[in-house]
């Protein structure tokens, strides 16, 4: 079988499996978020936490819960890293340095999982388990909860209430992420991902040398790292490491896991609309179609670029195999790269820094789209809903009618929140990249000079501000300036949008929907899919074209 045919079949298999899982998983999620019943273990959690699960919150109350929990999580994770040498299961690791500990705490709480350290020589097992794994679950749960609050805002009428944050978080963790991750962890372990409590163990190699082998509770973290679109690997090489991703089929499983929740949430949205009568299942399909078109274009571009292997060093080698594993090759590496950057996961099974100029440039472009194709767990759905509302606003301008989405008017207050959402991350990316490039210390932190060095810096801020977490690994992101500012980019890139989305959810929930008339723009038809796709591409293109032209486009054409 030719390489391209096998590669195309590999992609088709991933798409087919995802299509088969989307409907049952999406409907299950809809049930989880709408069921009036509390399970016995959930009642215990509510009692221990002193919350009344049947009392819903306003958008402001919901937001206070999200922010309080996230702030405490940053503090707890910082403390755990700084004190790990005093706690059990340290695996011989000392305390993590303050700058790294701050950056890492913010990184995992914001679902970014940007890593400025090597896991196998920095983090003890307790930090990995009780710190990082816990945030892998809960940061994903927060994204999903916020998305569901926005969906409730669209569905409900004349109410202040958008749900109970503790109920949404508990149900997401206990009914969805925990059972799914448990099953996935055992599958990964069956494929060869390690799961033990050993530290580095030495052995004598076949030719009489010596080698250290790492251990740790890896499969359990690997499963939630992909499922929660987190991306922070226990080892430095992330999913390129054979103990995290040993075979081509574990690689496919990881790609499926990282796409599963963002894709299924479009079905959840459609099902919740259909059940409440606020819309049809096709509304969810329309969002998925726009996501799928953009994802497909980027995947095709990355694959073509890597298979062609342009670039002076890549051509000297005969193919773009620098930074890629033999068991994956170009196609499975490109599939993983396009999927991880489209879902705000940021796990990597190959070194993006060594990708061809256009291949790496498209991975960067994928993040700059704002992580909505299909985006992170929850954040992808609320992100694309904001862009969908922007699209009806633009459509309304063209025909001179008040724009509506699902009967809710996109009025002055709503469009201000939407505009701020659209501007927040690009402003962080461009301003911080500009400042960083002006500093001599940044140039010393680059592994590659010239154009490619600029792309390393742009990639770093695109990744952190969009909560992706993948990196052009050559950049030494541990310098004080980069460590501080990437931390700020992650923090504001996560919570500014969440504040705006919850404000929007509150504003929409208060409205009485207007009746559908002949003049209403249908938002579940192919025409709308086309408009939404164009809006995604045009907004990103206009915002970032100059920066991309200075980086990957210039390198690819030179």
């Amino acid at each position: 079988m030719s390489d391209s045919l096998a590669g195309l079949l590999q992609i088709s298999l991933a798409v087919a499996l995802l299509a088969a899982l989307r409907i049952p998983v999406g409907d299950y999620l809809a049930h989880v978020y709408t069921s009036p019943r509390h399970l016995a273990p959930e009642r215990l959690v509510y009692r221990l936490c002193g919350v009344d699960p049947d009392r819903e919150q306003t958008a402001a109350g919901y937001l206070r819960g999200v922010l309080a929990f996230s702030l405490l999580s940053v503090l707890a994770l910082y403390g755990l890293q700084r004190l790990q040498n005093w706690l059990p299961l340290a695996a011989g690791m000392g305390p993590v340095a303050p700058g790294t500990a701050w950056n890492t705490a913010v990184s995992f709480v914001t679902n970014t999982n940007w890593q400025t350290y090597s896991g196998e020589s920095t983090m003890g097992h307790l930090t990995q388990m009780a710190g990082l794994t816990v945030q892998n679950f809960l940061s994903a749960a927060i994204g999903m909860a916020v998305a569901i609050a926005l969906v409730r805002g669209l569905i409900r009428r004349r109410t202040e209430q958008v749900g109970n944050v503790w109920v949404d978080l508990t149900r997401t963790a206990l009914r969805v992420l925990l059972p799914f991750a448990f099953a996935a962890a055992l599958l990964l372990a069956a494929g060869g991902v390690v799961q033990n409590l050993s530290g580095l163990t030495a052995h004598t190699t076949l030719d009489g040398g010596s080698q250290l082998l790492p251990g740790g509770p890896i499969a359990s973290q690997e499963a939630i790292k992909e499922l929660g679109t987190n991306g922070g690997g226990p080892y430095n090489a992330n999913s390129a490491h054979p103990f995290e991703n040993p075979t081509a089929w574990t690689n496919l499983l990881e790609v499926l896991l990282l796409l599963l929740i963002p894709v299924s949430l479009t079905r959840t949205f459609g099902t919740m609309l259909a059940r409440s009568g606020a819309g049809t299942r096709r509304h969810g399909l329309a969002l998925l179609a726009a996501m799928g078109i953009v994802y497909g274009l980027v995947l095709a571009g990355v694959t073509a670029a890597e298979a062609a292997g342009r670039g002076t060093a890549a051509q000297a080698a005969g193919a773009a195999m620098e930074g890629k594993e033999v068991r994956f090759g170009e196609w499975a590496s490109a599939l993983f790269a396009a999927s991880t950057t489209a879902t705000s996961t940021g796990a990597v099974n190959s070194a993006h820094d060594s990708f061809t100029a256009f291949g790496g440039g498209l991975a960067l472009f994928n993040m700059l789209l704002g992580e909505i194709t299909p985006g992170g767990a929850g954040s992808g759905l609320y992100g694309i809903l904001v862009v969908a509302m922007l699209t009806v606003f633009l459509g309304g301008l063209m025909i001179g009618r008040t724009p509506e989405y699902l009967g809710k008017r996109i009025g002055g207050r709503e469009i201000k929140l939407i505009a701020l959402y659209i501007l927040a991350t690009p402003a962080l990316v461009l301003v911080l990249t500009g400042i960083a490039m002006a500093l001599p210390s940044t140039r010393d932190a680059m592994a590659n000079g010239g154009i490619h060095g600029f792309t390393e810096v742009l990639y770093a801020y695109a990744s952190t501000a969009n909560n992706n977490g993948s990196a052009f690994g050559g950049l030494n992101a541990g310098t004080p300036f980069l460590s501080l500012t990437t931390g700020l980019a992650m923090l504001f890139g996560r919570f500014l949008p969440i504040v705006l989305v919850l404000a929007l959810a509150g504003a929409l929930a208060r409205q009485q929907p207007s009746p559908v008339t002949a003049g209403t723009l249908p938002t579940d038809r192919p025409l709308f899919v086309g408009m939404l796709t164009a809006t995604i591409l045009i907004v990103t293109g206009l915002t970032f074209f100059p920066a991309l032209a200075l980086g990957p486009i210039a390198e690819g054409l030179s």
Partner: protein, 196 residues
């Protein structure tokens, strides 16, 4: 003590929620997976260790450096100072147009061609590039093929016998379509040792 002021109230719930979830997801979940994996999948969960006469010589999943003419050689590695450092996985992160990478590639190509007595054009890409992990356990079938004559000569074996061992340790694409074929270098070298 009276009720907490309103702005502080979510913090009371948040502290308790974080503690409950840390116990459940941060301790219970990984330990439960560890327990089940250690019972059902002990070989994989402990690193797929490879033994020679009962002595652990490495992991089937983690590449090792082999240098002498009697061994199949792995790919170049950027893990640690000398490569294949199990405590320091990682890639070179050199860009596609990096002059440094280009020089390295040309130097490696000349060396691989010379040690195996093949023309430079016969050296495949994986032989001159470092992997993403620096611990790649595989080489491509093409890179194994150009090493057969050298290894056979150094070990006094027939090239056909060595070629048969290579074929035995070559894995195709998973399910016929996933990833790429590869030859496991440690397992192949172990089989050579045991063939003596």
């Amino acid at each position: 003590m009276g009720p907490l002021p309103q702005w502080l109230r979510p913090y009371g719930a948040a502290v308790r929620f974080l503690i409950v979830m840390t116990v459940l997801l941060g301790v219970g979940y990984p330990l439960a997976v560890t327990g089940v994996a250690q019972v059902l999948l002990p070989h994989q969960a402990n690193g797929s260790l490879v033994r020679d006469d009962g002595r652990v010589v490495g992991s089937a999943l983690i590449g090792q450096d082999f240098a002498g003419p009697e061994w199949f050689h792995p790919r170049p590695s950027a893990a640690g100072e000398d490569g294949y450092d199990g405590a320091a996985s990682g890639a070179s992160n050199l860009g596609p147009n990096s002059p440094e990478l280009r020089a390295l590639v040309e130097e490696r190509r000349a060396a691989v061609a010379a040690e195996n007595g093949v023309p430079e054009s016969a050296v495949p890409p994986d032989a001159v590039t470092a992997s993403g992990s620096g611990l790649d356990p595989h080489v491509s079938p093409a890179y194994a093929a150009i090493q057969v004559d050298r290894v056979a000569q150094a070990r006094g074996l027939s090239p056909a016998a060595v070629r048969a061992l290579v074929a035995e340790h070559t894995t195709g694409r998973a399910l016929g379509v996933l990833g790429e074929p590869g030859v496991n270098v440690l397992e192949l070298n172990l089989a050579l040792e045991q063939a003596r």
